[in-house]
């Protein structure tokens, strides 16, 4: 679960990490009001989950109330790489002397937290990693000991900060680590971490990604993201025990298991079709779940055919069949349904489905070919 910059900065403030003065606005009026609250220029930043906001025109400087109003108006409603900007962060512009990069993330292969730092901040860290990998420091942090001064020292030295700025940066990094742990984050990142001309260290940007598995113990963060989260079809599906990601194709997939779901999408593509979605109905599926999955497909106007691929194990094929029957009878399904059922209670399932208008196939390949063929007509 990614947080918006303004949300991450609210957490930063709670942990005494200095961020520029400012707040979030939903309208140009509010943006203008915020901008008039402090002297000097204001930065207006689109709050959307896309990389390279700046280059794409989502971050702009403005002078005075009127210009802030106008600029916010331009950014709000803007389409940034497919996402519509609904919120902006309006902040007092700061006098930048130097820009650094710091983050904490989880190294899956090493099974450790890694502290990543660079004196080349303010640009895409992936580019830095490619062009000048030597400028990136990585320190691995043992979960047993946690962050220690010796993990931070090399960065502080490279950054060439004076004693006072060192103390500020060190405190920021330690608090950032605290945030990383206490919010169950997959990633906390400050890019750029700014040294201002009057020798203050400030987090000019803030990125946080929270572990979805830990949401049950992160109530405060959940409350923060709740509204936006609940508006997402993916999240609604998850609440019902389904994992759903919409895509651009027209063959709707309903599968049990994430790996088999991906493989089903792959095989559709392999035989010339385009999957409309990823949809994993999980284990021990009950008929209600199947019905809801069908509704998700019907909500996507691109879908021209549905492909049921169920490998019964814990999931019983007869349960899926019952769900399917009730879905067909209650909903007005307006596309053909290709069904492939194998494993636990598959023959019972076929018995249940006998007489319906479903198209049966024995193998994944057979079913995929059939679905692709139906769309092509």
């Amino acid at each position: 679960m990614k947080l918006h910059e303004f949300q991450a900065k609210a957490i930063f403030r709670k942990y005494s990490i200095p961020v520029p003065e400012g707040s979030m606005a939903l309208t140009p009026e509010k943006a203008a009001e915020i901008a008039s609250g402090f002297p000097g220029k204001a930065v207006i930043k689109a709050q959307v989950h896309v990389g390279g906001r700046g280059k794409a025109g989502g971050v702009k400087l403005s002078s005075g109330k009127e210009e802030a109003f106008a600029t916010a108006g331009t950014i709000l409603g803007m389409d940034l790489k497919g996402l519509i900007v609904k919120k902006v962060l309006v902040e007092k512009a700061i006098d930048i002397d130097k820009e650094y990069y710091v983050s904490f993330a989880i190294d899956r292969a090493k099974h450790m937290t890694v502290f990543i730092s660079s004196i080349m901040g303010g640009v895409d860290i992936e580019d830095v990693a490619k062009k000048s990998p030597e400028s990136i420091n990585k320190s691995y942090i043992d979960p047993f000991t946690g962050l220690k001064d010796f993990h931070i020292r090399p960065f502080l030295k490279q950054a060439g900060l004076d004693k006072d700025a060192c103390a500020q940066a060190s405190k920021i990094i330690k608090n950032l680590y605290k945030i990383f742990l206490e919010t169950d984050a997959n990633l906390v990142e400050i890019n750029p971490l700014v040294l201002t001309k009057d020798n203050k260290v400030i987090a000019a940007d803030a990125k946080m990604d929270i572990d979805d598995n830990a949401m049950y113990r992160q109530q405060e963060i959940y409350d923060m993201v709740k509204d936006e989260l609940e508006a997402q079809p993916e999240h609604q599906a998850k609440q019902k025990g389904l994992s759903y990601i919409k895509m651009e194709g027209n063959i709707g997939c309903i599968v049990n298991g994430a790996g088999l779901s991906m493989a089903t999408m792959d095989i559709i593509k392999l035989y010339g079709g385009e999957p409309a979605n990823f949809l994993d109905i999980g284990g021990s599926s009950n008929p209600e779940k199947v019905k809801y999955a069908m509704q998700l497909l019907m909500g996507d106007e691109n879908v021209k055919v549905a492909f049921f691929n169920i490998f019964g194990g814990i999931t019983r094929c007869d349960d899926v069949a019952r769900g399917l029957i009730s879905a067909i009878s209650e909903l007005k399904v307006n596309f053909p349904i290709v069904v492939r059922l194998t494993g636990t209670n598959a023959s019972e399932a076929k018995e249940i489905l006998k007489g319906s208008e479903l198209i049966f196939e024995e193998t994944m390949i057979g079913a995929a070919k059939k679905a692709v063929g139906l769309v092509a007509r």
Partner: protein, 293 residues
């Protein structure tokens, strides 16, 4: 032989009185697995499927001499259950629980490794050595005893592969589902190492998916193996960045895409099937050829 478990492995089911724990304990017993006890705090002294239930792992292990534990405990309590298992003396822990926070896993992983305890999962189906023992949640009937090791990050996809293998007459030595979470106890290299050393295994099927760099690392290792490995990678059509953030790529130095993984495997001489069914065909070739890679 087989890897990690065999007909003598004694298993405790943690969370045996829960819905899933009870169901799968029964299935494992029916398969012939030596399930020796269950553990549920507060339920000590009761019985489940005729097995004694204990309050704690320490007493359960003392009473039964168990070697392994399988964990069906909700995410919020799972890590404590694992710590308890780790301190009880078992040498193998299978964590079925889905949804354990990654920060819990970081600590748990460090702890278990420091005690040289092997664990599998979390969020995994467990493992089965057909005809010997099953410590997991896979349906047993699709499996057949044989000489191919199967290792996979995915559940149902593995069933698909195994089902096709069995249909084609290709049996399995051990099938192990390592789980798809960011931090897992046993990764591809760990499993491949065990299969390479197992005299009963003659070839390996490795089923990967997008994300992380485990398949890429495995590819390097496979170059050093004497046994043939075939593979399938799921997620060629998955949208980029849906699961992996930018920092991931900086850390692992790989994009984690299906293409990158397939390329790495091909470079290591591994044939990668286009479909789950394809695995069986590739294996048939290898086995018929008696091929040394």
């Amino acid at each position: 032989m087989s890897i990690l478990i065999n007909e003598n492995t004694k298993v405790i089911v943690q969370g045996i009185t829960g819905r899933d724990g009870s169901f799968h304990a029964k299935k494992m017993i029916e398969y012939g697995t030596k399930v020796v006890a269950g553990v549920t705090p507060g339920k000590g002294g009761s019985k489940e499927h005729g097995l004694p239930v204990y309050d704690g792992m320490s007493e359960a292990v003392k009473a039964t001499g168990a070697d392994a534990s399988i964990i069906f405990v909700p995410p919020a309590f799972a890590s404590d259950a694992v710590y308890e298992a780790a301190d009880s003396g078992v040498s193998l822990i299978i964590i079925v629980t889905e949804g354990v926070p990654v920060h819990e896993m970081l600590k748990l992983d460090r702890y278990l490794r420091s005690k040289n305890i092997r664990y599998i999962g979390p969020n995994c189906p467990g493992l089965i050595s057909p005809g010997k023992s099953k410590i997991g949640i896979m349906s047993a009937d699709i499996h057949m005893k044989g000489s191919v090791g199967v290792v996979s990050r995915s559940g149902t996809l593995t069933y698909e592969v195994v089902y096709n293998m069995t249909k084609a007459g290709i049996g399995q030595s051990t099938c192990i589902g390592i789980g798809g979470d960011p931090i897992v106890g046993t990764n591809f290299i760990d499993a491949l190492t065990l299969f390479e050393a197992d005299p009963e295994t003659t070839a390996v099927a490795m089923i990967g998916e997008i994300g992380g760099s485990d398949e890429e690392e495995a590819a390097k290792f496979i170059k050093t193996m004497t046994k043939p490995v075939v593979s399938f990678i799921a997620g060629r059509t998955a949208p980029p960045g849906k699961r992996m953030g930018h920092a991931g790529a900086i850390i692992s130095g790989t994009s984690g895409t299906a293409e990158a993984k397939i390329r790495a495997l091909n470079e290591a001489g591994v044939e990668v099937a286009n479909t789950p069914q394809g695995i069986a065909d590739l294996l048939a070739d290898k086995i018929l050829a008696g091929a040394k890679k």
